[in-house]
């Protein structure tokens, strides 16, 4: 392969060393600062595993129970730390099992490098045992991918992979390495990649766009900020807070933007989108200037596009030029890194408070509180709610835990009600909506941040998609707190069947196993709660546990998540019941 990496000017002073391709792979990972990687061995990657054995004091390999688990763990690792997550697998099924996690990382802009073994290069295309065209398969879901057939290419390609994965709008990269390239010996030296000719990760910020944006913000009477994960990815939290505080703008978040500023920040008006908060959804269609920061106007955020913020001038702070005007027509696009742009615009904006406008958010919050929130988190009727479980977790976490959710009703409840004091604390599969993400992602998060409390919250459906990763928790002694909110249903699909398919519950009822026994089978402390009076004590016991803990909470079977914007409806048609 002809790589176009521009060599770093300061030539490495290191002398070269004759080593095998597989050793070069491990040494390159160490050079990139990788301390933990997740994977599963197999024929075509065995030389690398042999080197991992040799270097185990420098780099810790975590054996997951499925390659999908390896990718999600790498994602969890990346999301809580901001570092590149690494997953490794063999050829064929090992490689294809990575695809779900790669697709998830692609749509959620998560930096990840996946390394796959490949059959000998002379066997490529011969339908050899465990041969699959993983470069072809992964092309649409990777930021970049590449096959290596010569050992000498390994350091440069891995350096390029890490640079591409973490720079600009991050994403997953896959490097497929044939077995002969792993075995072959060559003269190894390593240089980090700092530039790729055809790739400009951060577009230049246009000063006039900043001025135009500032002018719109300063003249706005009813401005609304909607921020996304871009604020977290560019570590722009403080710059972002400074801007919204100076301009006094109510600010709402997309699901992946959660935790960038504390839940209780006075300007934080909640989540937008399908199951977001009432006020920011309704007022999206009333604001005069909509300021989008590091978000991409996903359909779950906008509802019906033809009726989305049509009255508003739209400012879009964005690193990826392809996002401008993709879904929502922008009046002012501020291209560039969010942190740099926000720091640059701060002196250009005027102080403001927008008191009357804020009152509207407060009034609508009261409506939502009376109709939805109160019943979710302080229910009086029989049957535990998911919301009250979150409320208990908040009490004991004091908002300092990282909440890793799976996909479905519990995810929406977790994102709506979890309290966050720290950034990078809401880890969930937002774009792809991958059931089974939560448990392995929580393992990765806990291992990246062992000092933090990491609570995995799943439903009974998604939990069983990657339940085998309890084995990883056990083997790694990862002190993850695992909560399953069990309603014996695929709850979100059931909710849609109730609302839109005349209550025909096709294949959504689950006959579930003894979850406590399964956890205990992996020697994980476990408890099941069915009554409200036991909930607080169980959550306390879980949160105080020094080791992994499994808590099953049997919640009401047919609870629904509201507010809700039905598919195809406008954000201002958000329903409270």
């Amino acid at each position: 392969m002809e790589t176009q990496t521009i060599k770093n000017k300061e030539k490495s002073t290191k002398t070269t060393e004759r080593i095998s391709g597989s050793e070069a792979i491990v040494r390159s990972l160490i050079e990139e600062g990788v301390k933990i990687l997740y994977g599963y061995p197999g024929g075509a990657i065995m030389p690398v595993y042999d080197e991992l054995y040799k270097y185990q004091d420098k780099i810790h390999h975590v054996l997951t129970r499925h390659e999908q688990g390896a990718t999600h763990s790498a994602q969890g690792y990346a999301r809580i730390s901001g570092e590149v997550g690494v997953a490794i697998a063999t050829s064929g099924p090992g490689a294809t099992n990575l695809i779900t996690g790669i697709a998830d990382a692609q749509i959620d802009s998560t930096p990840m490098v996946c390394i796959t073994g490949q059959v000998f290069s002379h066997l490529l295309g011969s339908d050899a045992f465990q041969e699959t065209d993983i470069v072809g398969i992964s092309t649409p879901v990777t930021k970049w991918n590449c096959q290596v057939t010569k050992a000498s290419e390994i350091p440069e390609v891995i350096a390029k992979a890490f640079y591409i994965a973490r720079s600009g709008r991050p994403g997953p990269v896959l490097v497929d390495i044939t077995k002969d390239a792993q075995i072959e010996e060559f003269d190894f030296s390593y240089e980090k990649c700092t530039k790729v000719r055809s790739y400009s990760p951060v577009p230049k910020t246009n000063i006039s766009s900043l001025k135009a944006a500032a002018e719109l913000i300063n003249s706005a009477k009813k401005p609304l900020v909607v921020w996304g994960q871009g604020v977290i990815l560019s570590e722009a939290e403080e710059a972002f807070k400074a801007v919204i505080e100076k301009a006094g703008i109510p600010s709402a978040w997309t699901i992946l933007g959660a935790s960038a500023i504390p839940t209780r920040h006075p300007l934080n008006v909640g989540m937008v989108g399908m199951h977001g908060n009432y006020a920011p959804n309704i007022l999206t269609n009333e604001c005069d200037v909509l300021i989008a920061v590091g978000m991409r106007f996903d359909d779950r955020v906008t509802g019906k596009l033809d009726e989305y913020a049509k009255q508003a001038k739209v400012i879009h702070f964005e690193i990826d030029p392809a996002e401008i005007d993709k879904n929502v027509k922008t009046d002012v696009a501020v291209l560039g890194d969010a942190k740099a742009s926000l720091e640059a615009i701060l002196p250009l904006i005027n102080e403001n408070s927008h008191t009357d406008w804020h009152q509207k958010f407060k009034d609508l919050y009261e409506v939502e509180y009376e109709k939805v929130i109160k019943n979710d988190i302080h229910p009086t009727k029989e049957g535990l709610t998911m919301g009250e479980v979150l409320n208990q977790i908040n009490i004991y976490s004091k908002g300092n835990a990282a909440i890793v959710s799976d996909v479905g009703q519990h995810q929406m409840i977790a994102c709506r009600y979890a309290e966050f004091n720290k950034t990078k604390s809401n880890i969930t599969s937002g774009g792809l909506g991958t059931m089974g993400f939560g448990l392995p992602a929580a393992i990765g998060a806990k291992m990246a941040a062992p000092d933090r409390e990491v609570v995995s919250i799943s439903g009974d459906g998604g939990y069983q998609m990657t339940i085998q990763e309890l084995g990883t928790i056990f083997q790694q002694k990862a002190a993850v707190k695992v909560v399953v909110l069990n309603n014996d249903f695929l709850g979100m699909v059931r909710q849609w069947q109730q609302l839109f398919f005349d209550k025909r519950y096709a294949s959504t009822e689950m006959v579930n196993p003894n979850f406590v026994a399964i956890a205990e089978g992996y020697y994980i402390k476990a408890r099941k709660v069915t009554k409200r009076e036991d909930l607080a004590d169980a959550v306390k016991e879980m949160m105080e546990s020094k080791e992994a803990y499994f808590l099953e909470v049997c919640v009401e079977k047919e609870g629904n998540v509201f507010p809700m914007i039905p598919t195809g409806a406008s954000v201002s048609d958000v329903r409270l019941s």
Partner: protein, 176 residues
Amino acid sequence: MNIENQLFTISVYTENNIGLLNRVSAIFQRRGINIESLNISPSEIEGVAKFTIVVNMAEDNVKKIIGQLEKQVEVIKAYYHDLDNIIYQISGLFKIKSELLFEERQIQNIIKESNARIVTVNKDFFVLEKSGKKDEIVELYNQLSVFGIMQYTRSGLIGITKEEMKISTLLETYNN
């Protein structure tokens, strides 16, 4: 809003790497866009390949496609033009039985009037080449098909823009 479909050429300057065709075509495939014609060749810059892709779509959507193309790591730059703003050519090749050249007087007139070129002749067949706009090649095809065509093929569109493509200057800034 430019939402009426029309023909556009998309010029994509890329690194010359294996797998890039797959990555570029996937962008069209994912959005259900039919590629009318595709040509990949070296460009004016050494080591840089140029894709010339013809699509029939609305300008607003072409702009989005350009964004998606430029987002690819190994794509240097992508441009789009309507057909009025490029000088372009398409080639057609026709293989015809040699005996027809002598038996059917009409064929000689067709060759003359169409400005087609005879590439080769042997005792079994002769090959005609015609370059021009798509309509001209189709017209020639229609005229010849009544006599019987042994083989016919048409190339993808290749084009040169009327405006300057600032790709070289762009590459210089990348290199520095």
